[in-house]
């Protein structure tokens, strides 16, 4: 797999274990962006000339491609800057349309800041209350607590498909069902879902689903919001500008139809085309096999830690509901120092709070180190990381 990713030709010794932060890009994505600028660049939806029509076709084909991949309607696919913007859009526009004083917004303690802060902001604006589903002692979502927290007062339930810190796949089907039972709307933050799992929004029956291009082998600065059209139609626009209007007069304006209503301004054209290529890449691989591969690598590391590193505390036990992410804390070595030693060995890992401070509090740590394997990693990469861990212990404990 490494051969498909040019970064490993530029850095043959690189061991990249930070894919939950951002994935590396395959040749076909880089090539699609390159080809766009070399042969297709013109503003979309505007120019009455061949080049603009070609660019518009490539742009809209990417949307069709993504819609089919998610089993959505084309007009239900809104392009955003990423998952963060998609959550903000749903919180703000969905909040304006559906939130009433006294309503509750239910999240989980394991959320990324980007699925907490936008809701805190709109809750304050609309007099709503934010509540959180806790974790069990095994760091899986507490479904009993969820059952009692999801009530007639619940207006939105928003949670990650997969935890960026723990790598645990949340039982979103059960949660969506519970939410549907009380008439609450559901939003799934799929930033860590789409890179690992096949997503069918109809089958999930969620109201909104968002993901980022850069975490699923596509470019940065582009993401997708799927929303049920009946909901998107009654929500007010997110931003004003070109493309999103039907008619503008000095007295007021009317909104364009979906999806343009939520896409003000010249869009991120090469981003959309690059993301289309990333979806082609995802279609070309066997995601179930890749998930098994990532889990095997994660297990290899967990096993080595348990055998050899008693001072290392793993934050979650592997299981079938897990994408192979290994997050841990060392009793005596700060995660920054550990990451710096790894860097000296050509190994990229993440250290810090992973934009999930509330979860760090639940885990009883201020920061952790995280190894997140992907399809371009192999057993040798994990062995090199284990060697670096040994070196860090020699350096700091020796």
């Amino acid at each position: 797999m490494k051969a498909l990713f040019p970064i490993f030709s530029a850095h043959p010794e690189l061991v990249y274990l930070d894919s939950n932060a951002t994935s590396q890009k395959p040749e076909i994505v880089i090539e699609a962006i390159n080809r766009y600028y070399r042969t297709q660049n013109a503003n979309v939806h505007r120019g009455i000339y061949q080049l603009s029509e070609d660019a518009t076709r490539a742009f809209e084909e990417a949307r069709i491609n993504i819609a089919q991949y998610l089993n959505a309607e084309t007009r239900e696919i809104i392009f955003t800057r990423g998952t963060t913007e998609a959550v903000n859009l749903v919180a703000q526009c969905g909040g304006a349309a559906f939130l009433r004083p006294g309503d509750e917004i239910l999240l989980t303690v394991a959320e990324h800041h980007s699925n907490i802060v936008p809701w805190q902001i709109v809750a304050e604006r609309h007099g709503a209350k934010v509540k959180f589903i806790p974790l069990n002692s095994d760091r899986r979502l507490d479904l009993d607590a969820a059952r009692s927290l999801i009530t007639e007062k619940t207006r939105f339930v928003s949670l990650g498909h997969v935890s960026n810190v723990l790598g645990v796949i949340h039982p979103i089907r059960e949660i969506i069902k519970m939410a549907r039972g009380v008439g609450a709307l559901t939003m799934i933050d799929g930033a860590q879902g789409v890179p690992h799992l096949r997503v069918d929004v109809k089958e999930l029956d969620c109201d909104f689903y968002a993901f980022s291009g850069h975490k699923c082998f596509g470019p940065t600065g582009i993401g997708v919001l799927y929303g049920k059209k009946a909901l998107l139609q009654v929500m007010p626009p997110y931003q004003g500008g070109g493309d999103m209007i039907e008619r503008v007069t000095l007295e007021g304006s009317t909104w364009n139809e979906l999806p343009s209503k939520f896409e003000a301004g010249t869009p991120h054209m090469e981003g959309v085309i690059g993301l289309g290529a990333a979806i082609e890449f995802l279609k070309s691989i066997d995601l179930e096999k890749i998930l098994e591969h990532d889990q095997t690598l994660g297990r290899q590391l967990v096993h080595a830690i348990k055998e050899e590193f008693p001072k290392v505390k793993i934050m979650v036990e592997p299981g079938p509901d897990w994408v192979g992410t290994v997050t841990f804390a060392h009793e005596s070595i700060h995660p920054h120092d550990l990451a710096a030693v790894c860097d000296g060995e050509g190994i990229a890992i993440r250290a810090g709070h992973h934009c999930a401070q509330p979860l760090m509090e639940v885990l009883g740590v201020t920061a952790t180190a995280r190894v997140s394997p992907s399809l371009y990693n192999d057993a040798d990469d994990m062995n090199r990381f284990i060697k670096a861990l040994r070196k860090a212990e020699q350096l700091f404990l020796g």
């Binding site: 995660p335 920054h336 710096a340 709070h353 760090m360 920061a367």
Partner: protein, 136 residues
Amino acid sequence: MTEEWKALILDHYKNPRAYGELEDFTAASEQHNRTCGDHVKVYAQQGVLGRFGFIGAGCSLCLASASLMMELVQDKTKAEVSVIADEFRQIWENGLADDESRDAWKALAGLRAYPVRSRCVKLAWQALDEILLSWV
């Protein structure tokens, strides 16, 4: 960063100088880096000459920086400490002067190689700035 300075940083991390709460301190300042949980508290007895101590928890860069700072400011006058605080800012932003010969400054300047961790390195120095403000 050369091995020589790495060793000095590691030595200050493992054996921090002037570590501990100062008795009879006249000023103290605690600084946090919320992204990684690092925190440093610097104590000072602001006399004709300043006495300093610090406590904290953090990564090697954070604690070594605090320890090196202790070496530089211990038993100095307010005016001298102010110059040192300015020197740190100058070196952190622009690098070392060609003729610099003091080991502590050379080691601290070496940490500029890790811009992501600049907040860790600066934590103790921010505490020092605050202490200077109340030193009459």
